[in-house]
């Protein structure tokens, strides 16, 4: 199993952003995030300013990982959809393209059914883009071969 770096290039990043923007409108959501299962935010759409997106990404990954552990205990591979209902806002989390988590935050202007439908449509598109992104990532070196000791030291000055 390779643990090479995942390099997301601009064209695929823009493609993911445009899918998220469309999902935001189609699902009447407040904000939409795409997070990787390791807890890093890839992209978001909507008014993300009110959110601590770094914490959100880490906790969403933790949430999916923990429920994945529960799933294994009952013989399931994972629970690919989670829904959290709040007093005002709700959160829909789903596993996409095996390694990503799509997080949709919505309120009473939308509904679980609508979100689920739109997420399903977006999932297919994200999966296609990710296939391209992963193939491109494998072919990229990252461009950090030239990194010097001095570059690294500069972080600590």
């Amino acid at each position: 199993m390779s643990h090479g770096n995942f390099i997301l290039r601009e064209p695929e990043y823009e493609a993911l952003l445009s899918i998220l923007r469309k999902l935001l409108v189609d699902a009447s959501a407040k904000v939409v995030f795409l997070v990787d299962k390791n807890g890093t935010l890839l992209a978001s759409a909507g008014d993300a300013f009110g959110f601590d997106t770094t914490s959100l990404a880490s906790l969403a990954a933790g949430n999916i990982a923990a429920t994945g552990g529960l799933a294994n205990l009952i013989g399931e591979k994972e629970f690919s959809v989670l829904f959290h209902e709040g007093e005002r806002d709700n959160m829909h989390l789903s596993v996409v393209a095996e390694r990503l988590i799509l997080v949709v935050v919505f309120d009473r202007r939308s509904s679980v059914g609508l979100v689920r439908l739109r997420v399903r449509q977006a999932t297919a598109r994200i999966t296609t883009v990710m296939a391209v992104a992963l193939a491109a990532s494998d072919a990229e070196s990252g461009g950090f071969e030239e990194l010097t000791e001095a570059d690294i030291e500069s972080l600590f000055r």
Binding site: I7, T54, S58, A65, F144, L147, L155
Partner: protein, 197 residues
């Protein structure tokens, strides 16, 4: 597995603090949180029990500035040290780029350190990593306490790979930043190699 976003010019890396229960993993993160410039760190999250034992993980995001035009972000995690939380430890190791093994220097914890190191190696293998090659730093914590094992003993027991090692006292902060700096360096050197094992 580091995540590099060319569009937002960001590098994201994950560092996990591993070690036996009560060795000081959370205390390391708390000290880093307290001493880091607020602009360079995000919110620290602790998923802990009511008695403040780590239940799932602690999380502290750091932004360390730019390298070659890329913002560097390090996500620090701790695992729950207690033996029965092994499933959680395995989950947190997913996608890890570097590990700090925090050992408890007290004589009474020698066995617990060894057991935890073996557990780390097993869990890394299970996640598809080569435990001989993943960036690793060892920290011998609680050097300020009485009845501690000698450095030579701890080295012989835990540092088979001869990786960078540091003495520390996480409550007062001694050795905490030296450890962090060492693991960050190793992770970046690994990134330079393409992060492949």
């Amino acid at each position: 597995m580091s995540f590099i976003n060319y569009s937002t010019r960001e590098i994201n890396c994950k560092v996990v603090y591993y070690g036996p229960g009560l060795c000081g993993k959370t205390t390391n993160l708390q000290f880093i949180y307290k001493r880091m410039n607020p602009e360079a760190r995000g919110k620290m999250i602790s998923l802990a029990t009511e008695s403040e034992r780590t239940l799932f993980f602690d999380f502290l995001p750091l932004s360390l500035g730019e390298i070659r035009g890329f913002k560097t972000r390090f996500h620090l995690y701790t695992v729950p040290g207690q033996v029965f939380y092994d499933a959680s430890r395995r989950l947190i190791l997913r996608g890890v780029d570097g590990v700090v093994f925090c050992a408890d220097s007290q004589l009474t914890r020698v066995d617990a350190n060894e057991e935890s190191m073996e557990n780390l190696r097993g869990n890394l293998r299970e996640q598809g990593y080569d435990p001989e090659r993943l960036p690793l730093v060892i920290q011998y914590n609680k050097r300020d306490l009485p009845n501690i094992a000698s450095l030579a003993e701890l080295h012989a027991l835990l540092n088979r790979r001869n990786v960078p090692e540091f003495e520390s006292s996480a409550t007062t902060g001694g050795g905490v930043f030296e450890t962090l700096k060492a693991v960050i360096k190793l992770v970046l050197i690994d990134l330079k190699r393409g992060g492949r094992q």
